[in-house]
């Protein structure tokens, strides 16, 4: 009977990124870093949202790195699902811990 092939052959789709893509990714990351600094210096009136803002920007940066530098965009869908599962698990940990912390 069949040997299940749940993933495509790695050799088929090896994406080679262009310089243009690399540099625009770098530019985006640098821009987001500048934004983080700017928010922390000038964004004093964000108050309790300052942590949330910093985390949001950091998350966007992580996604950009995963998608372009780490080639998630060009890989089989399975890898995106796996990342999603792990992120969901992490969010669940945060939610459960926060339920405890916020009710203390």
């Amino acid at each position: 009977m069949e040997h299940k092939n749940e993933q495509p052959n790695e050799a088929q789709g090896h994406h080679i990124s262009s310089y243009k893509e690399h540099f625009s990714t770098l530019a985006a990351l640098l821009l987001l870093t500048v934004l983080t600094v700017a928010v922390s210096v000038f964004g004093a009136d964000l108050r309790s949202l300052s942590v949330a803002t910093a985390l949001l920007i950091a998350t966007i940066k992580a996604l950009v790195v995963a998608y372009y530098f780490m080639h998630l965009k060009y890989e089989h869908k399975l890898y995106r699902w796996l990342l999603l599962v792990v992120v969901l698990l992490f969010v669940l940990f945060l939610v459960v811990t926060s339920i405890e912390y916020l009710n203390r």
Binding site: M1, V86, L89, L92, V96, I99, E100, L102, R104
Partner: protein
């Protein structure tokens, strides 16, 4: 699947030390793990016996209080990180998973070898705490802050050792997941897979997804010790309970890393020795996944008295009770498997039956601890120590030794002395209960755990417990001695001494390098379809 080109078994194809420590054969790596694990296990047992000796009478018997703190910490670190967490997957998983799936190796043989090397490096790091500075950590294996940040003992090295050992665990898990997905024999669908493989599959996902959390948590201790970052220290804005959250987010699922493979072993032993189909294959398979999933969200039950919020406590208590459901499903299915079977009482079956009995005591005492009101009284008493020894040693330990007796003739092609094995089992089992049952009692009486000294009213149960440790060690030495004797003078066995229909019994004992000398035949109607049903 290729057929072997030679009659040599995997022991004979190559000889010499290097052919072992650089071997990428999953069978040899499994045995490397076995030998190293047993060495560390015996070190851990020795430390445990010394602790029991100290507790024989109130006051000082053989060691100082500080030494005692270090001994129980090292005992915990060795038994948890060096023995139980790797135990069944690293030894029997490595050796038998590929054979039971009908393939010739794991997906990544080199990663497999690397995981053993990482394990050895981590183990040496853990034991090195003995010889430099102020000696081994005195924090308990849980490394709770703030004490672990302040103590001058070698916490940093112990924590780094656990960090390194985590990588070994992750690599084994990753390897098994890919092997199970990609290398099953043609015709073996997931629902025709042996239950041992199912349990390793669930375990591997926990290893892969939970272990990184302990890694990062332990690094936070190091950061706190060296740089005073203020993650856990309230005086500089940290939260000590945050440490406990992070630690138990891994360490509770780790309980299932230890327990699930043991469940898998029992699901293999019972059908073989009752010559009968496993009762409720699907329920057993999926309850492993359910335990793995729900087990992620119960960690707070270790923190009921730590100053957690009331809501948090209720949520964690309810979730804890939920885990009991899939666990009980397994226990009932196992017992039902025995019903009307043609039972063949052999040493492995004895260990499996002892497992069900001891694990039930361990599991039920766990419910007492998972209930909020009773936990207030029992938290940090000897009841907890009794409980987790029943679960970990009575459960996983007995399954490990059951598996060793079961697969011994397959691995070495020889049979140990069955009578001696039975006698050793009886002594071992009695010693176990004499050692740990008094702990449950003395815990109910209120004796706190991890204390060097105790009140006179706790004397008698402590004495009984220490006597028990001597009985247990006698049984253990007899059992191991018998196995070692079997290794040298045991009678040769054929392919299938237990009359099992599982794939590993179709190949010669010991198996050839490529695992099978002829194409393995999948049993018709599933992996446990014994004819006499």
């Amino acid at each position: 699947m290729t057929t072997a080109t030679t009659d040599l078994n995997f022991f004979q194809v190559k000889r010499g030390l290097f052919s072992w420590i650089f071997s990428i054969d999953h069978k040899r790596i499994g045995l490397l793990y076995l030998y190293s694990l047993m060495t560390f296990f015996l070190v851990g047992v020795t430390l445990g016996v010394l602790m029991r000796l100290e507790l024989l009478n109130p006051g000082k018997d053989i060691m100082e209080a500080q030494t005692y703190n270090q001994v129980f910490t090292l005992h915990g670190v060795i038994m948890i990180f060096l023995f139980i967490i790797p135990s069944i997957p690293a030894v029997f998983g490595n050796f038998f998973l590929p054979i039971m799936l009908g393939t010739d190796d794991v997906s990544f043989p080199r990663l497999n070898l690397l995981s053993w090397w990482i394990y050895i490096i981590g183990s040496i790091m853990a034991l090195s705490t003995l010889v430099f500075g102020d000696g081994p950590a005195d924090t308990g294996w849980t490394f709770y802050v703030p004490f672990s940040v302040n103590t001058t003992t070698n916490v940093t090295m112990s924590v780094l050792a656990a960090f390194v050992l985590g990588f070994s665990s992750i690599l084994t898990g990753l390897n098994f997941i890919v092997t199970i997905h990609r290398l099953r024999a043609p015709g073996m669908s997931f629902m025709k897979m042996p239950l041992f493989a199912w349990s390793l599959y669930a375990t591997s996902w926990i290893q892969l997804l939970a272990t990184p959390i302990i890694g990062i948590t332990l690094m936070m201790i190091v950061a706190e010790r060296f740089f005073g970052v203020g993650l856990f220290d309230p005086s500089i804005g940290g939260d000590p309970i945050l440490y406990q959250h992070l630690f138990w987010i891994y360490s509770h699922p780790a309980v299932y890393i230890m327990a699930l493979p043991a469940f898998g072993i029992i699901s293999e032993l019972l059908p073989t020795f009752s010559q009968r189909t496993i009762f409720g294959y699907t329920a057993i398979a999926f309850s492993s996944l359910a335990i793995a999933f729900v087990g992620y969200f119960v960690w707070g039950h270790h923190m009921f008295t730590s100053g957690m919020s009331g809501t948090g406590r209720i949520v964690f208590s309810i979730m804890t009770f939920l885990v009991a459901i899939p666990t009980a499903i397994k226990v009932f299915n196992w017992v039902a498997t025995l019903y009307k079977g043609s039972i063949n009482v052999q040493p492995p079956l004895l260990y499996a039956l002892a497992f069900i009995f001891l694990f039930s005591i361990g599991g039920l005492s766990g419910l007492v601890l998972g209930a909020l009101a009773t936990d207030i009284h029992l938290h940090d008493t000897y009841f907890v120590v009794g409980h987790f020894h029943y679960v970990m040693f009575g459960g996983t330990g007995f399954a490990f030794f059951g598996a060793l007796h079961y697969w011994f003739p397959k691995i070495w092609g020889k049979m140990y002395n069955i009578t001696v094995a039975n006698i050793a089992f009886v002594i071992f089992f009695i010693g176990f209960n004499v050692l740990y049952f008094p702990m449950l009692v003395v815990g109910l009486m209120g004796m706190p755990r991890r204390y060097y000294d105790y009140l006179p009213e706790f004397h008698i149960p402590n004495m009984i417990s220490t006597f028990g440790s001597w009985i247990l060690v006698t049984g253990l030495l007899l059992m191991l001695g018998n196995l070692v004797a079997g290794l040298f003078n045991g009678k040769k066995t054929g392919r299938n001494p237990w009359n099992s229909i599982s794939l590993e019994w179709q190949t010669p004992s010991p198996p050839p390098l490529a695992n099978f000398d002829k194409l393995p035949e999948l049993p018709e109607g599933g992996p446990y379809n014994y004819k006499n049903d």
